[in-house]
């Protein structure tokens, strides 16, 4: 137990002696120049407050200069990792651009929108947050939020052909042929009335002249009349509902008594005409 305790204690003492200095940023400056070398904006960057968002148009150039130093001594160092991170927080697109740093800690970065680096992520009309990530094997790491940057929107990249299947596709509604239009019902009614008008004439004339039907209910001819009416009814039923096979069947069944009734009826009228009356 005791040797292990002293072993751990010796590590603690060693840790107390080694105090890794942390990296810090000195004199960060940015400059935006347009394509004809006029300076559009130039300023130092404050590490505590972000400046107004920077805007680059399609031909502008952004130059960023700073020096990486050890905090406390102010000596320039070249850290292992000096990356600029361009990040769109809404779409999640990110681009990492390493920045070349001299052994004395001086760094310069140039972003020419006419020839943008491959590390610039796809952009839209939203700003990119630009931050600086410093990392080192011997110093404590540091991260600084520098500024927000508006760049022209990039064209969308080609997507995989199956990517559309992973989303809801647009609804398709079938366009049906319009319903067939019929002529107005009033016109049909008028012409139906026209077709039925002779009945009106007939009925009015009959009312004047009078119909004599003395033998209507005679037992010899009434069944035939009835069966004839049944045939008409069967025909109407066929029009409304029945199929051909059914109507032939019922008609066949109905035909048998009709034949006998008809023979009787005709014989009876024949006898009447021959002289019974």
């Amino acid at each position: 137990m005791i040797p292990r305790f002293t072993f751990h204690l010796s590590w603690l003492l060693l840790a107390a002696y080694v105090h890794a200095a942390s990296l810090s940023l000195q004199s960060p400056r940015f400059t935006i120049t347009s394509s004809d070398a006029t300076q559009l904006r130039s300023d130092t960057l404050s590490l505590t407050k972000k400046p107004e968002p920077l805007t680059l148009s399609a031909s502008d150039t952004l130059k960023l200069t700073f020096q990486v130093t050890e905090s406390g001594e102010g000596k320039g160092v070249q850290p292992h990792q000096t990356f600029l991170r361009f990040y769109d927080s809404v779409s999640g697109e990110e681009g990492i651009q390493p920045v070349r740093v001299t052994p004395g800690g001086k760094a310069k970065f140039e972003l020419n929108m006419a020839r943008p680096p491959a590390s610039l992520p796809p952009t839209s009309d939203r700003p990119l947050t630009v931050s600086l990530i410093l990392g080192s094997y011997v110093h404590e790491p540091a991260k600084y939020d520098l500024f927000d940057l508006y760049v022209p929107a990039s064209s969308t990249s080609a997507s995989h052909p199956d990517a559309a299947l992973f989303q809801e596709l647009p609804t398709i509604v079938h366009t049906f042929r319009p319903e067939q239009k019929l002529p107005p019902k009033f016109v049909s009614a008028v012409f139906a009335a026209l077709v039925l008008s002779p009945w009106a004439v007939l009925l009015s004339l009959w009312a004047k002249v009078g119909v004599s039907v003395p033998h209507l209910l005679s037992l010899r001819i009434f069944p035939f009349t009835l069966l004839l009416g049944a045939f008409e009814g069967l025909l109407f039923w066929y029009w409304v509902d029945l199929k051909l096979g059914q109507v032939l069947l019922y008609g066949g069944i109905l035909a048998v008594p009709t034949v006998f009734a008809g023979k009787t009826a005709l014989a009876t009228t024949g006898k009447w005409r021959a002289g019974k009356h």
Partner: protein, 445 residues
């Protein structure tokens, strides 16, 4: 009494083993590098065994047990913890592993910064590994561990338990291609990057590599450390950038903030996804019929009102059974003849779990149509079903009858019938006026 007690215990243990198994089989083949010790991964493996899986261990160069014989896989799942192996036995090749995926076998593959056959397999799945020998390095956050051992925050995902603490990772990242079948599970932290230098003087090498390489620098949160891929046959493969993610040492290591790491929980969650326990869905049955009927007719007529029903269930790992699932809100039904003629939402029916129903009108084109339901979402099993039905034009007696335009004709025909009947009745019933020598006597009307 003691016998009863032990019987009860063994019954409970057996019951515990029976619970929470995969929906597609329990046999797992684990290929372990000879340089790795099984005991170093005991938390992960014993977790799998406790959930009811049969693990078989094998070295990559052993010739038995083979992973598949005569194109039939011998195991339901294969785990490859072989980050350092450059040559395998003859039954394990990238082609045979892809063949396993076609036969519905799932794979869990651990990669490494070294160039192995598995790295070239990963490129087939739209993963872009960094140059060989460049492990993931991150100087943030400040910690006593070396820069290659990185605590990675876990973002929310349907695959992972909410609130999983950051996990320790060491290995290689990979960039993702644009395949939609990829399921990124763990993204690299924004400050991390792949580099082979171990001193600050390596900074220039990083800049040169970034300028020269076509892919640029493998850095930032666009990199992925653990990525899944689901094939169209619903078999799953997970590529993890390093095998230490699953080790006991990382599961027990504390994070820089002092809390325990999420490695054990994370390893359990990705194992559950790969082994087809979670996010596993299937279509149980589909039905289609006309609106007021229950049986599917042999054929539909154009302009019919059709009702289509689908029953979907998801695998419940707690009870190892398939339970009806009504959680899909964006499923769509397509009624297709070469191209979709109708595409509508297929919503779940409230009150009937697992049932999705929609009613629509058949198009007025006749032909052979298909009811197609194809649902693909990242991380979930793909659902696909297709039912073919004929749609015919109306038969001769299915057209509208008794049109208003035909009233005059109805009136005429009925008049004729009525007139005939009336004439016959009146003639038979009428009086024969007297006797005449010519029988063409006056007949009454």
């Amino acid at each position: 009494m003691r016998i009863f007690g032990s019987a009860l215990v063994s019954l409970l243990v057996l019951a515990g083993k029976v619970l929470a198994k995969s929906s597609s089989g329990d046999s797992v083949l684990v290929l372990l590098d000879p340089s790795l010790d099984k005991a170093d991964y005991s938390i992960f493996f014993s977790g799998l065994e406790k959930r009811g899986y049969d693990l078989t261990f094998r070295a990559p160069k052993d010739t038995s047990p083979v992973i598949s014989e005569y194109d039939v896989p011998n195991y339901s799942h294969v785990i490859l913890f072989t980050p350092d192996t450059k040559t395998y036995a003859s039954d394990i090749t990238p082609q045979s592993l892809v063949g396993l995926l076609s036969e519905n076998t799932n794979l869990l593959i651990a990669l490494s910064p070294k160039q192995t056959p598995l790295t070239s397999l990963a490129t087939e799945f739209s993963l872009i590994p960094p140059p060989p020998g460049t492990p993931l390095v991150s100087h943030h956050p400040k910690r006593p561990e070396p820069a290659t051992v990185i605590p990675v925050p876990v973002s929310s995902s349907p695959i992972l338990t909410a609130g999983t603490p950051p996990v320790w990772f060491s290995g290689a990242p990979h960039a993702l291609g644009n395949s939609p079948y990829l399921v990124p599970i763990l993204r690299a932290p924004a400050e991390s990057f792949a580099a082979d230098s171990t001193e600050d003087s390596g900074a220039d090498a990083i800049i040169e590599a970034a300028d020269k390489g076509g892919e640029g620098l493998w850095a930032g949160s666009q990199m992925s450390l653990v990525t899944g891929f689901q094939t169209t046959k619903n078999s799953r493969v997970v590529f993890a950038g390093g095998v230490e993610l699953f080790s006991d040492e990382y599961a027990r290591k504390e994070l820089p903030s002092g809390t325990p790491s999420g490695n054990a929980q994370f390893a359990r969650d990705i194992a559950a996804w790969v082994l087809q326990e979670t996010l596993t869905l299937r279509i149980d049955s589909t039905e289609h019929h006309r609106v007021n009927e229950t049986l599917a007719p042999e054929m539909y007529t154009i302009n019919d009102q059709i009702v289509y029903t689908a029953h979907i269930s998801s695998y419940d790992r707690r009870t190892s059974t398939w339970k009806p699932y009504s959680g899909i809100t964006d499923m769509q039904l397509e009624f297709t003849m070469l191209d979709p003629h109708v595409r509508i939402a297929l919503p779940p029916v409230a009150g009937e779990p697992g049932k999705y129903e929609v009613q629509f009108r058949a198009p007025d084109r006749h032909g052979v149509f298909k009811f197609v339901v194809g649902w693909r979402r990242n991380g979930y099993s793909f659902l696909h079903t297709s039912t073919t039905v004929p749609v015919v034009p109306p038969r001769h007696d299915e057209y509208p009858r008794f049109l208003s335009a035909a009233w005059p004709y109805y009136a005429g025909a009925i008049s004729t019938s009525a007139g005939f009947f009336l004439f016959a009745a009146l003639w038979l019933a009428g009086d024969v006026k007297g006797e005449k020598k010519n029988l063409k006597g006056a007949k009454s009307e």
